[in-house]
């Protein structure tokens, strides 16, 4: 049989999949053809810039074949060997005991019987269920679709996600400039052109755009940075790690101690105030509370001038460098990029990370945010973009098969979860081990600023504790904080039943009693848009050079006995007598896909048959396209004119989305709710970390660990199931049969401890021990240890034993479970004191 080519889409770009004799031959980017719309052109200084006529891919997508055919595939339903639903369940052996293969009938019977039993005995709130994010791509198969429709109909204690990648922007910046509908990250419309035309300087603060790539935008922006360099733009990187963009593009690297970025920001403000090099008109007209900030910075509030000299002591950055940075910034049109979406960045995932994030907004407010060439711009979003074309994505209610309440849209009957009890992901282990637990806010608080203040207690009054955990894949040992607790929680006898539906044997999959094998999006059909999640990351596909909407075609038969998520949940719904509701009266996978096509703007441009035949559609830009740069309207005192569809109606609410519509140096929301909060005062400031370089604990554990988002894998995905990635020495290094996670150390710390390159070392504190391979490098600030977060591998020397040294590389076993501040339940995974030593315990 000759080769066939199918289209599909991944978390790192759309692909062509070549298949021969039912096996994948290759996975490659899409090459545009002549029938696709023309590419956009940005003209600067007489030069024309257009992107190549192809899409790009994140590196790990090129290992997709490796992942699909990985030995880690679940392939068959499994039962833990010592789990007897009618006898002894041995919850203490979760993570320890091996599995036996069982048939689908038996697996579905056990799972559905357990659901029935627990519902009858305790009520629906005794069941909780959750997925991870972005293991596959596609509107139908994604978590709030196939999974969400099932559990919403069933009723369950849902789990609020913490905004794990942009905590400080969510719990901080929202109080300064709104953007709650974007969970704290600013709009980025048309800022590529704005930067190319008007900016002189790009500052990347806690930001490695070449590695984080706007999340899902593959390497679309890599060429933008080549252009920006070609145009002579200067780039400064502020990061304790000389990150991957910095090492080949940076004109200057400035490395503050972790947790002290806010002090650096204060000193910059000091120089601007002292030398009057800020936009006084903007500050006067567009902001609130600046005088108080000015007083504080100049030392009139607490008697301490926030000078560069003061900041030198705290940050470890020389005062002359801070002063020069401030002058350089103020003298040039400067874009400030603080992580993947504008906001993000490791510095926001620290103790009091919300203070740094708010100070970033303050600084750009002082320079007239929205002025041509001056903005918060991550450098990875904001290409010319047709925001009028609608395609729903899984972050939008209409982009899910759960339904959005309108029977004419996707589902005739919308699935609504009747259970009011909630859990909070960061506190889930504590909720099982030490209830009750309390927190503020509804996780992703996109509805209003006040949504962050809603108090929750688990168990909710009159509700049962959870008895069953239905998990989808998962490796929270690699991504949450103080994660040995997850192991303990799984082994609690309180959890009478744990099911895990998964494509691969992930760390949490190995904690289940029954495992149901799911297939990848290459083994079923789906529909999606490249990089667009919709919802809170509205128009995230502006990080791509083309808006590509993909009919994701089934390329190969499901591996082993695995099934699509839709099929698995349909089978379970049948056992539980709600198949008809689940399938919305018999809708097939293809029917759901067609519904997504129907509710989008696609029918105005291409027939369903043609779309399906070609496999993708490129959204054209309007011929009369006029850029509407982010916040230009605000700078110029106009109504919002950007296509930010989820923002408050500009007719009804003027200004940014803060309480007053102005950028608030003194947050009115916090002034009203927590006027006396010393950990997140109404006005942001540097607050010494509760686990920082000068904490008492630093005597015992003198090194600061930072664990930024990984470069060669995505979340925990691809990492463990793609052996090929271990051939990339910046990712993992193979030694003595194990793929060790890379731990970067400055030569000084290595010499003090007798550590040599490629030595196996332990990174440790009172919360655990993680093993990795030492890489001695000048790229890290002395005293800081760098290890990428999100290990997809959890491999304790003693299987299933919490606190056993982990050979997998889950550094989050070591990070503190404490919330970033008293009233801000964000995780502080980059606040972590450790020590390191050569590992003598055998490998």
């Amino acid at each position: 049989m000759s080769e066939q080519i199918f289209t599909n889409c991944t978390v790192g770009g759309p692909v062509w999949v070549h298949v021969k004799d039912g096996r994948i031959v290759r996975v490659r980017p899409i090459q545009l053809d002549e029938s696709d719309p023309p590419s956009w052109t940005i003209e600067v200084q007489g030069k024309k810039f257009s992107p190549p006529r192809k899409t790009t891919l994140s590196p790990y997508v090129l290992a997709e074949k490796n992942r699909i055919y990985s030995e880690d595939r679940v392939a068959y339903p499994r039962k833990r060997i010592d789990f007897d639903p009618d006898g002894n369940r041995h919850p203490e052996n979760r993570g320890k005991s091996p599995y036996v293969r069982i048939g689908w009938d038996e697996a579905l019977e056990i799972v559905s019987n357990e659901i029935k039993r627990i519902r009858e005995k305790y009520g629906p709130a005794a069941i909780t269920a959750m997925t991870s994010s972005h293991h596959c791509w596609g509107n139908i198969g994604y978590k709030r679709s196939a999974f969400g429709r099932f559990f919403n109909f069933l009723g369950f204690t849902d789990v609020f996600d913490n905004p794990d990648s942009w905590e400080g922007w969510h719990w901080g910046s929202i109080h300064a400039y709104g953007y709650y509908w974007r969970l704290g990250c600013p709009e980025q419309y048309d800022l590529l052109e704005d930067a190319m035309k008007h900016s002189d300087l790009l500052i990347f603060w806690s930001h490695d755009p070449d590695s984080t790539r706007a999340g899902y935008s593959a390497q679309e922006s890599a060429i933008w940075r080549v252009w920006l360099k070609e145009l002579g733009k200067k780039m400064i990187f502020i990061d304790p790690f000389c990150n991957y963009t910095a090492v080949h593009m940076g004109d200057k690297w400035i490395a503050p101690r972790p947790g002290t970025d806010a002090a650096l920001a204060e000193a910059i403000a000091y120089v601007w105030l002292d030398e009057e090099t800020y936009d006084q008109k903007f500050v006067e007209g567009r902001t609130l509370g600046f005088d108080q900030f000015k007083k504080y910075i100049l030392g009139k509030e607490d008697g301490v001038k926030k000078t560069p000299k003061r900041a030198e002591k705290i940050t470890g950055v020389r005062a002359p460098v801070i002063q020069a940075l401030a002058r350089e910034w103020a003298s040039k049109r400067t874009m400030l990029g603080c992580g993947a979406r504008g906001g993000f960045g490791s510095a926001c995932r620290q103790a009091y990370g919300h203070e740094w994030a708010r100070l970033m907004v303050y600084l750009q407010a002082m320079q007239g945010m929205g002025k041509p060439g001056v903005n918060i711009w991550s450098g990875v979003l904001g290409a010319p973009f047709n925001g009028k074309f609608f395609f729903p994505c899984y972050g939008d209610p209409i982009g899910r098969i759960t339904g959005d309440g309108n029977p004419d849209h996707v589902a005739q009957k919308t699935a609504v979860n009747p259970v009011k009890q909630r859990l909070y992901r960061l506190l889930l282990p504590d909720a099982i081990l030490n209830p009750p637990v309390q927190w503020l806010g509804e996780g992703f608080c996109a509805k209003s600023i006040e949504q962050q203040f809603i108090p929750y207690t688990y168990p909710m009054e009159g509700h049962p504790e959870i008895r069953m955990f239905y998990r989808y894949g998962g490796s929270f040992m690699g991504t949450m904080t103080e994660t040995n607790k997850w192991v303990l929680a799984y082994q609690s006898p309180k959890l009478e039943f744990v099911a895990n539906q998964s494509i691969w044997m992930d760390p949490e999959t190995k904690m289940a009693d029954i495992i149901l094998p799911a297939c990848t999006s290459f083994e079923r059909n789906d529909i999606s848009e490249f990089s667009n999640t919709g919802g809170y990351s509205n128009h995230a596909s502006s990080g791509c050079n083309y808006r590509v909407i993909v009919y994701q075609k089934k390329c190969i038969e499901p591996v082993g006995e695995s099934k699509s998520d839709l099929e698995i949940f349909t089978l379970l719904a049948e056992k539980l007598d709600f198949k008809d509701e689940y399938t919305d009266g018999g809708k097939t996978e293809e029917d759901w896909i067609k519904k997504q096509y129907d509710v989008s703007d696609l029918p105005r441009y291409i027939s369903y048959e043609d779309f399906k035949r070609k496999g993708y559609f490129i959204v054209p830009l309007p011929e009369d396209y006029k850029p509407t740069p982010a916040l230009r309207w605000f700078y110029e005192g106009r109504r919002r004119d950007t296509p930010d569809t989820l923002a408050p109606d500009p007719e009804k609410k003027e200004g940014v989305g803060s309480m007053t519509g102005k950028i608030e140096f003194v947050a009115q929301s916090l002034q009203k709710k927590f006027p006396k909060d010393k950990e997140r005062p109404p006005m942001a400031r540097y607050i010494p970390s509760w686990e920082g370089y000068d904490s008492p604990l630093a005597k015992k554990y003198p090194l600061q660990l930072i664990a930024p988002h990984p470069r060669y894998s995505y979340h925990t995905h691809y990492d463990a199931h793609c052996e090929w990635l271990a051939d990339i020495p910046g990712h993992r290094i193979r030694k003595n049969g194990n793929n060790w996670i890379v731990v970067r150390i400055h030569p000084q710390q290595a010499a003090e401890r007798g550590i040599k390159n490629d030595d196996i070392i332990k990174v440790f504190n009172d919360r655990g021990v993680v093993l990795g391979i030492a890489q001695i490098t000048e790229r890290i600030k002395p005293g800081v240890i760098h290890c990428y977060t999100s290990s997809g591998k959890y491999d304790p020397l003693e299987p299933g034993k919490a606190y056993s040294p982990d050979r997998g590389g889950c550094v989050n076993l070591l990070t503190p479970g404490r919330m970033m501040s008293k009233n801000a339940p964000g995780m502080a995974c980059n606040t972590c004191l450790v020590d390191i030593s050569k590992w003598e315990g055998g490998e």
Binding site: K54, T245, P320
Partner: protein, 280 residues
């Protein structure tokens, strides 16, 4: 007749490893006789990436140098092979015949670039084919070139005077990796890392970054002058390795400084404190 060549622009390479992974994706599990048999699951780097860290904290750079087979016009591997197991096609691509090369392990050590790998299971030497099996089917470029996000890998027909590559192939900025091997490679480079000398000048009296300070570099019979930037930083890039240079720092009202430097490695001189000169 086509005549293929590749130019790798190090300044554009971000070290994403797409080229390496695309090569693995193309060749693992896929036999393309008579061009190549499948690559093993791991351990082969037909497109290998060399990372070179340069400088010291806080002046650090990394150069990523992708290295495929150089497809030399005088391939030593062909000379080392028996019964024509390694041959050069008319289009310039050097191919190791997977049948004829069986058992010929000595081919590996004939390559001074070390880009040939031994396939234990199949008992054959293997290397980059520039995806000749795809070019022969009408593809315009090999997999590594297709997936490069910045266009750092430039590929094309050297016989086509209009192709981008032929226009710059013989230009000054295009260089050869290890010219001393004298192998006439079909893969060339731009921006290969040399040595830098950098430093940060501070006015000691003001404890301030010294901008607009004149810095002169002499050595190898040449003289270069530049001014420090707003951070007091200066940097001379692209210097010869292992040579002696002198850096002179001068500013009106301050005592000039002269520093002798050896470029065995890249050099960051750290903070250089300029003192007020005594005479007024």
């Amino acid at each position: 007749m086509r005549c293929y060549g590749m130019i790798i622009d190090i300044d554009k390479c971000t070290g994403c490893y797409n080229c390496f992974l695309a090569c693995r994706d193309e060749h693992y599990g896929n036999d393309f006789p008579p061009i190549a048999l499948a690559q093993p699951f791991q351990g082969h780097f037909w497109m290998q990436m060399n990372e070179r860290e340069r400088g010291i904290y806080p002046k650090v750079k990394v150069s990523f140098i992708p290295k495929p087979c150089m497809h030399c016009d005088d391939p030593p591997c062909a000379q080392a092979s028996l019964s024509g197991a390694v041959y050069k096609r008319p289009d310039g691509i050097v191919i190791i015949d997977p049948e004829k090369s069986r058992g010929q392990k000595e081919i590996l050590s004939s390559c001074p670039h070390r880009v040939i790998f031994w396939n234990e299971e199949k008992n054959i030497p293997q290397k980059c084919t520039l995806c000749a099996h795809l070019l022969d089917q009408g593809w315009g470029e090999p997999r590594c070139v297709e997936v490069c996000p910045t266009g750092a890998l430039l590929f094309g027909d050297l016989n086509d005077p209009k192709s981008q590559i032929s226009r710059i192939w013989n230009s000054k900025q295009v260089e050869v990796l290890h010219p001393e091997f004298e192998l006439k490679p079909r893969v060339k480079y731009m921006g290969l890392p040399k040595r830098f000398i950098a430093g940060t000048v501070i006015f000691k009296d003001k404890d301030e970054c010294a901008k607009e300070v004149k810095v002169t570099l002499t050595g190898r019979g040449k003289k270069q002058t530049l001014r420090t930037n707003n951070f007091g930083d200066f940097e001379f890039e692209g210097l010869e390795e292992g040579k002696e240079f002198t850096v002179k720092i001068e500013h009106s009202g301050y005592t000039p400084q002269s520093i002798k430097v050896q470029t065995k490695q890249d050099v960051y001189l750290g903070e250089i404190l300029l003192k007020r000169s005594s005479k007024r």
